[in-house]
Subunit: 404 residues, 2 copies
């Protein structure tokens, strides 16, 4: 029997206990060993849970229990999750987590600490919920140089955008997301892009070996998007999505979060509701996409338990291959002003607008929607885009980057 | 240095040599070891290839070379690929393959033989070309009971169907596929579904532990599909795809290949051209999809090299977790007549057709397209479907199953 401890008995934590219990037979069959939860750390009591008798309020009950091999941290937030993770790794316990905040801020340090202590730190559930993406990127794409990653990484915003594509206003869509339990009462981390920023820096670290700070990358959410933007996207054969994007520019790494026009030929364009998708472009395999439930109790718990199974199946083996990345220095951040991409410009459809656009942007295919005149321009830098928009003398309603 | 031998220097074999050479630096960085091709078995000479000097015509040069740790079989066909694989495993060499024919027919035996000899037999490239799917199903979904798998598993037929959705006839689309090098001069294995059948039995074996024979499952190709079928699909909000499907019915396994109407909400519906997608439904994570290039030199080679990296990173470790399945007995095959699914019925739009359809099928939403009247009926067995179609007294133009 392999014993596991759970830190944080919230949505994902209780899901992990449920996956281990309900799927005990299939896990034992796949793994050749039994895995059981021995202790659960939470401030609350859970008298009605079948796991309630395992709850402790004292972290030391877990830290000092030599029978506990793997600790699954699903507390959320940086502290005390980071501190408990560190203590567990130092005590020779393997740690798995769904906590993207801890991985995005301290992943380099915790991976190094795990290696020093001969244990592992895995975080499949930190990006894309239940979608297998971290392990496939680490293992299946190890024969490739990863060139670029684009992802729909936040289910709440994708739900809101799906509702807006269906005709709802941003405010109405957000209210519906809250009513469905997808969005928090304070939805800032979702709608302002911070959640996606944490996830894209993790994917960038796996791809390029450098962990950027989610606070230092360009991050735009979806709060300024309107139904007119949705209509323009549709008229241009695109879907409107919040996209985390990372690529290497020279030896530096660019990571960013922003709304994007996604052409319908791109497999990310059709991903709706709370689903997530991660599109990886690698130098030999080309584009591969991983799709599934990006959040939710049992899907996320499924990924946490997959990490536990990975650890148990490698127990006692030295030199298990692990993701490795180091903290970025200032020199690792690509200059956002050097980034080039195609953009969709939407101007107020004032008198003479088409001619002024042609004078500045050359021949472009414009559409007119909702009092706007809009088109997709060739790739250019942020500065060029701002300068050209100003040069038209027209009122810029929106500029939304295109996913290429 | 880890030495690899390549069996078969065709499209995929030469691609594997190229991936190992061109990506040598990234592979060494990810793996911590150098991997190089030592010998290549082929009947031909390759004087213009940078790997030409490694070619031998004698399999024993590889079998008896103690320095060769991993053999990558990319010959295609059952023999001598199976025989060489067996000899290598018995000689204590690890084997990786892209050969779906060998895996579908002999996978159970070769996995058992590998285990007996303390080596591994991996076949990521046998399904979905470069798409990571075998290893993610084995590792990342190990915390789940897999319930159902549906896949677009053959790039050639998906290209033909994409062209037909664009308005080309089957014959014209096939000619274009041949001109592009996607389809063979004799395209039977693709268009009649056999290639997809081999892949779905491999996915069924991974999901349910039982390797069915590709010759014993229901297998329909796309040769009878017409532009009218495409038009009906469109009118009903579906895409027309060739789908490999597997599920468990009681304790038995059903696997089949047939055209399906794929509702636009399903992520498989938007997969076009030669791309493949595998949609897995599992009891905790729900639906996840793996998407990418299902064939082609470098994508398929990328998966072969990922298997080599997996093997090298576990060298010297005992009890590495491996896929395991056994050959099916007659009792393992689900009765195809017991299988139920929704179907789209297309009848000739004869006088009184709507009333006769209503009398037999009840209230259904019909569309009329190209002289047909068509609708999607509730789930029923094959026999019920045939009986109900006959009971209308109308001419049945087509019945196409729906993917649910």
């Amino acid at each position: 029997m392999i014993y596991v401890a759970i830190l944080g008995f919230g949505v994902v934590g209780s899901g992990a206990a449920q996956v281990l219990a309900d799927n005990a037979a299939v896990i034992e069959k796949n793994l050749g060993k039994k895995v059981a939860v021995k202790r659960i750390l939470d401030l609350r009591e859970f008298p009605d849970s079948p796991f309630g008798h395992l709850v402790t309020h004292d972290f030391n009950d877990i830290l000092n229990d030599k029978e506990i091999t793997v600790v699954a941290e699903m507390m959320g937030g940086s502290h005390p999750a980071y501190d408990f993770t560190k203590a567990c790794l130092e005590a020779g316990k393997h740690v798995v987590t769904s906590n993207k905040e801890v991985v995005a801020r301290f992943g380099d340090e915790l991976l190094a600490l795990a290696a020093q202590n001969g244990v592992r730190y895995l975080f499949e559930a930190s990006v894309g919920g239940g979608i297998p993406v971290i392990r496939p990127m680490t293992n299946d794409l190890a024969s490739n140089q990863i060139e670029q990653v684009d992802g729909i990484l936040n289910g709440t915003t994708n739900y809101i955008l799906t509702e807006m594509i269906g005709g709802a206003s941003f405010d109405a869509a957000l209210k519906q997301a809250q009513a469905n339990g997808y969005a928090e009462a304070n939805p800032a981390a979702d709608v302002e892009g911070l959640d996606a920023a944490r996830k894209i820096v993790i994917l960038a670290a796996l791809s390029f070996g450098t962990l950027l700070s989610p606070d230092k990358i360009h991050c735009e959410g979806i709060t300024s998007l309107t139904l007119a933007d949705v209509a323009v996207a549709k008229a241009l054969g695109c879907s409107l999505k919040l996209i985390g994007h990372t690529e290497r520019i020279g030896k530096k790494v660019l990571a960013m979060v922003s709304p994007r026009m996604v052409p319908l030929a791109c497999p990310l364009s059709g991903i709706s509701d709370v689903f997530n998708g991660i599109l990886v472009d690698a130098n030999m395999v080309g584009k591969v996409m991983f799709y599934g439930a990006g959040a939710g109790k049992l899907p996320t718990a499924s990924a946490v338990v997959a990490d536990i199974i990975d650890i148990v199946s490698h127990l006692g083996q030295a030199d298990v291959r692990a993701p490795h990345f180091t903290a970025a220095t200032d020199a690792d951040y690509a200059d956002f002003n050097a980034y080039t991409c195609r953009s969709c410009f939407s101007f107020a459809n004032e008198s003479g607008a088409a001619a002024r656009i042609a004078a500045v942007f050359g021949a472009v295919n414009t559409v007119t929607v909702d009092g706007r005149i809009a088109f997709i321009a060739d790739a250019m830098t942020e500065q060029e885009a701002a300068a050209k928009a100003a040069a038209t003398g027209l009122t810029l309603a929106a500029r939304i980057r295109v996913l290429d």
